[in-house]
């Protein structure tokens, strides 16, 4: 059996042919041979990244970009260990992580994601409205019933049942959790103090389920449950979700447009390094639980050929690539952010 497996591996490697043969770090490749670049990180943008890398490979048959969706934390670790050429993350690197990395790292927003509250309330057909503080209190275990005055006040005319709220969160560390708790911490000082912001946090109660599908599955089955999932996941699986009150006081239902609007609202105050949280963004149309997802590159990489290719790829992803985002359910970046990024791409020493 082992021998068979080994044989299969050999055959599979042989079948890959010259594609796989380009050794890492071989900058002096002769013209015409394939260059392969490896990256790892966030799972959230994996569908769009794999489509982009595939498309880019068709445009440039000698470039093969491989991406492993091992999670944002893993991507940052692998980038710091220099086992991959680029990383990807849903939460920006912390100052401590940047200091610990062997060289300066640049963040490049690629697309936008959003997190939406989903719920299961038999008999309630209207789209429920939530506010940040109410969501925070639900997840803190302070609001325990669906007919609590705080929820009823946001939803006049909706007959809310006297059911216990079962708050479902992600049990696995995830960028989705990061975006959600980042928002709740901004709108509720109590939440910031007792829970805080990270990819896994110490939830005061509720139930943990694994992955977007685990949360959605549990919410769908449990009357009285509330959960949070990626907007793409809700769109693709046709799950109804609630509207959330934004900073301007408007109730906004997440959509690709309202997410892009959130990024546009934040673009004005965008820092040089793009490490910015756009939850609770300004703007009348902005959806408040949104975030960039970033590609991570070293500012001064040793391998100039691969750096040139990645910079070229990013320029393509920021132009033509953005057109493909929408059909996969990702919100495209606003033009103001793209402009700044094209400028920042010049920082990479190639």
């Amino acid at each position: 059996m082992k021998a068979l497996t080994a044989l299969a591996v050999v055959v599979a490697l042989a079948a890959c042919g010259p594609k796989e043969r380009s050794a890492p770090g071989a900058a002096s490749q002769p013209q015409g041979s394939t260059v392969s670049i490896n990256g790892a990180g966030a799972t959230f943008p994996y569908p769009i990244y794999s489509k982009w890398f595939d498309h880019y490979h068709q445009l440039h048959p000698n470039v093969q970009i491989n991406y492993q969706s091992i999670g944002s934390g893993g991507g940052i670790k692998q980038l710091a260990a220099q086992t991959v050429f680029f990383g990807a993350t849903d939460g920006p690197m912390t100052d401590a992580q940047l200091e610990a990395s062997p060289g300066p790292v640049l963040h490049f927003p690629t697309v936008l994601g959003a997190v939406v509250p989903i719920y299961n309330l038999p008999g309630v057909t209207a789209t429920l409205r939530f506010s940040g503080p109410v969501l925070a209190d639900i997840y803190l275990g302070r609001i325990r019933k669906w007919n609590a005055p705080a929820i009823a006040a946001l939803n006049p005319g909706v007959k809310l049942p006297d059911t216990d709220i079962a708050a479902v969160h992600r049990s696995d560390g995830s960028g989705t959790t990061y975006i959600f708790v980042d928002y709740l911490s901004k709108v509720s000082p109590e939440f910031r103090k007792t829970v805080g912001v990270a990819t896994s946090v110490n939830w005061p109660g509720g139930v943990g389920a694994k992955g977007n599908e685990g949360v959605a599955g549990l919410v769908r089955q449990t009357p009285g449950a509330i959960g949070y999932v990626e907007l793409i996941y809700a769109l693709q699986n046709k799950i109804a979700y609630g509207a959330v009150q934004n900073k301007a006081g408007e109730f906004v239902t997440a959509s690709l447009d309202s997410v892009t609007a959130a990024a546009a609202g934040a673009a004005a105050g965008m820092p040089e390094d793009f490490r910015v949280s756009i939850t609770n963004a300004e703007g009348k149309d902005a959806y408040p639980i949104a975030s960039f997802t970033w590609l991570l590159l070293y500012e001064n990489p040793a391998d100039k050929e691969r750096a040139r290719i990645m910079a070229d790829f990013l320029r393509w992803a920021l132009a033509d690539g953005q057109q493909q985002a929408r059909e996969l359910g990702y919100a495209p970046l606003p033009p103001s952010v793209i402009e700044k990024e094209l400028e920042a791409l010049k920082k990479i020493r190639i």
Partner: protein
């Protein structure tokens, strides 16, 4: 013995050295895993010491880690699973080895062992879509007076300790029942014949056989227990993943294997990573202790079987040698 030694050829010696080396390799691997787990959890061991075993807080944001809720959840779920599965597994083993028609023995053994071949993710999915809704119905139907007991308190979520214990019990049945079956099969027929000769009924004869293989059967149960301790995927999908220590069967809880599987990929912080590895170390220690106990028990029954079974033959040999 003297006869054997003169017959040893070069081939025999190399065979012995070769297999011995492989056996030593297993020991080395186990020791290596232990050492590596220790090394990779050094930060957490240094910072928390024994407090890691007794701490109840698991807060990656504040960097405060205690493993007690996970240890509790692991032991409690495995113990409950054994309570449910042991009678069933032993019933299967006794039926197959003592009562079933000869023609049914092989298919029955095969089918029970097939349970072990189902991937745990499949058990998990079945748990989410079939078991959890059924458990929720059961929880809703629980009379209010029962819910005042700590064993049945909490809202009816479906996911929680009961679902985890039920799914685990199904998963360990093949392990317990196949070892118990072998133990019963190893009981010398002289035992049963003697019982029948004394006028015992079938039930009494079976009881004597069980009594004879008692320690081996306990070993079989312990083996199942060891299996239940380490189960990850199916449990994390139905247990609710909430680190709280509760007697309640309805409460969402957490296990050691589940927290590692859930949080390892996103643990970017050094101390956090070391704390997760230390959970792995604790689980490693607990599983080794349980497995060691089960091996010891099985081994001690084997000793008894071989001495009793072999004694007439040995007497024969002794006579020939004389």
């Amino acid at each position: 013995m003297a006869v054997k030694r003169t017959r040893t050829t070069g081939d025999d010696r190399w065979f012995r050295i070769g297999t011995g080396a492989v056996a030593a390799l297993v020991l080395l691997i186990v020791a290596g895993i232990g050492v590596e787990l220790w090394r990779q959890s050094a930060l957490s061991i240094e910072k928390f010491g024994f407090r890691f075993w007794t701490g109840r807080t698991w807060d990656p944001v504040a960097g405060e880690f205690g493993a007690l809720p996970f240890i509790w959840g692991t032991l409690y779920s495995s113990l409950l699973a054994m309570l449910i599965s042991t009678p069933v597994a032993l019933g299967i083993a006794i039926y197959i080895s003592e009562l079933s028609p000869r023609r049914l023995r092989v298919p029955l053994s095969y089918l029970t062992e097939l349970l072990a071949a189902i991937p745990s993710i499949v058990y998990g999915l079945w748990g989410i879509f079939v078991l959890v809704p059924a458990v929720r119905k059961l929880e809703i139907a629980t009379p209010e007076s029962w819910k005042r007991l700590p064993l049945f308190s909490g809202p009816p979520l479906g996911v929680g300790m009961l679902s985890a214990a039920l799914i685990l019990s199904i998963m360990v049945i093949p392990f317990t029942s196949s070892v118990a079956r072998e133990v019963l099969r190893n009981v010398p027929s002289a035992q049963r014949e003697a019982a029948y000769a004394l006028g015992a009924t079938r039930w009494e004869a079976i009881r004597i056989a069980i009594g004879y293989g008692k320690t081996g059967i306990v070993g079989a149960v312990m083996l199942g227990f060891g299996r239940a301790l380490g189960e990850t995927m199916a449990v994390t999908m139905v247990i609710g993943n909430n680190p709280n220590i509760s007697l309640s069967l309805f409460a969402p809880q957490y296990t050691m294997a589940a927290v590692i599987a859930n949080e390892f990929t996103e643990a970017a912080d050094e101390l956090y990573l070391h704390a997760l590895v230390e959970i792995g170390l604790l689980l490693f220690v607990i599983t080794i202790v349980v497995n060691l106990l089960s091996r010891l028990l099985i081994w001690s029954t084997r000793q008894r079987f071989t001495t009793t079974a072999a004694s007439p033959a040995m007497i024969d040999q002794g006579a020939k040698a004389a």
